[in-house]
């Protein structure tokens, strides 16, 4: 049984994280994974495509939005979820990413300003081969400057 000190974080929302997505960030992201898709970097190809401009690879929402998820859980190192988990015996220093789910509604383009908001929707304990594990489920929505929902993500974080 997880203590209330931990479960009280279920339903907690993080602050909104806002990022302007620029062409350079998209290019660096595509280069990092070695993805030469011309929709991400070739202006002329992208202009003549059905998108009419460069787009970001699905799953890229800019750089700072990455932190929306951990913001909901770990913004305050002393009184946040991290501290509560340590008190409950989950002392491994590294949060592990156990899985992700996405639903994509609209492409992301350079110049878009995206607002990401995360909420912790569940915290569950499980017995694994190597001892007790706790899974932290976070849901994040990404909304662009026109107020359109661009994507929804569900992340599964694991601590031991």
């Amino acid at each position: 049984m997880l203590p209330e000190e931990v479960t009280r974080f279920i339903g907690q929302r993080g602050d909104v994280r806002i990022t302007e997505v620029d062409k350079g960030a998209i290019r660096r992201f595509a280069e990092a994974i070695d993805d030469p898709n011309p929709l991400y970097g070739d202006e002329e190809h992208a202009r003549n495509s059905r998108y009419g401009s460069i787009i970001a690879p699905p799953g890229f929402f800019g750089w700072k939005t990455k932190w929306a998820q951990s913001e909901a859980a770990y913004a305050d190192p002393r009184s946040g979820l991290g501290a509560a988990l340590r008190n409950a015996g989950f002392t491994n220093p590294a949060p592990v990413n156990a899985g992700e789910e996405y639903e994509f509604f609209r492409p992301v383009r350079p110049g878009d300003t995206l607002a990401a908001t995360s909420m912790i929707t569940d915290i569950r304990e499980r017995d694994g081969r190597t001892g007790k594990m706790v899974f932290i489920i976070t849901e994040t929505s990404y909304v662009n400057q026109n107020g359109d929902l661009v994507a929804k993500a569900r992340g599964i974080g694991m601590r031991r």
């Binding site: 992201f29 990092a32 993805d35 699905p58 220093p93 156990a98 992700e100 996405y102």
Partner: protein
Amino acid sequence: MAKQLFWEDVEVDSEVTPLPKVATRQMMVKWAGASGDFNPLHYDDSFAEASGVGKPIVHGALKRAWLIQLMTDWIGDQGTLKKFACQYRAMDYPRLMKTTSEPHEGETWWCKGKVTKKYVEGDEHLVDCEIGVENGKGEVTTPGTATVILPSRG
């Protein structure tokens, strides 16, 4: 550029064109900078050791990005990735670098997939796939699923 794939070209059990990837420490450094993930688990030997994983491990989200490329390469410019999920079941360890641009000999990872369902919903021609990243021993460390919209010849 590969020829555009159409919904009519695909059947249940059709193979998604496999995509090979080589994870290196260098790629992980680039990924950290590009994605904003600075968890030392992925670049600091002593931190990785203290965390119980031995050595720095490949970012889950980097494997996610590979699997997304597997799908976007296959569906082409006219296809749309609608849903995607993956689970990080086992760790992967990158190759180290031999020169500033060449990795040492070692593992190659293969992103693979196959069609599990083909259907129409409203005006969307959809295909569900089972996907995964396979390590050099042929073990699937990162299984997942994807739903794509493909153009139809009508």
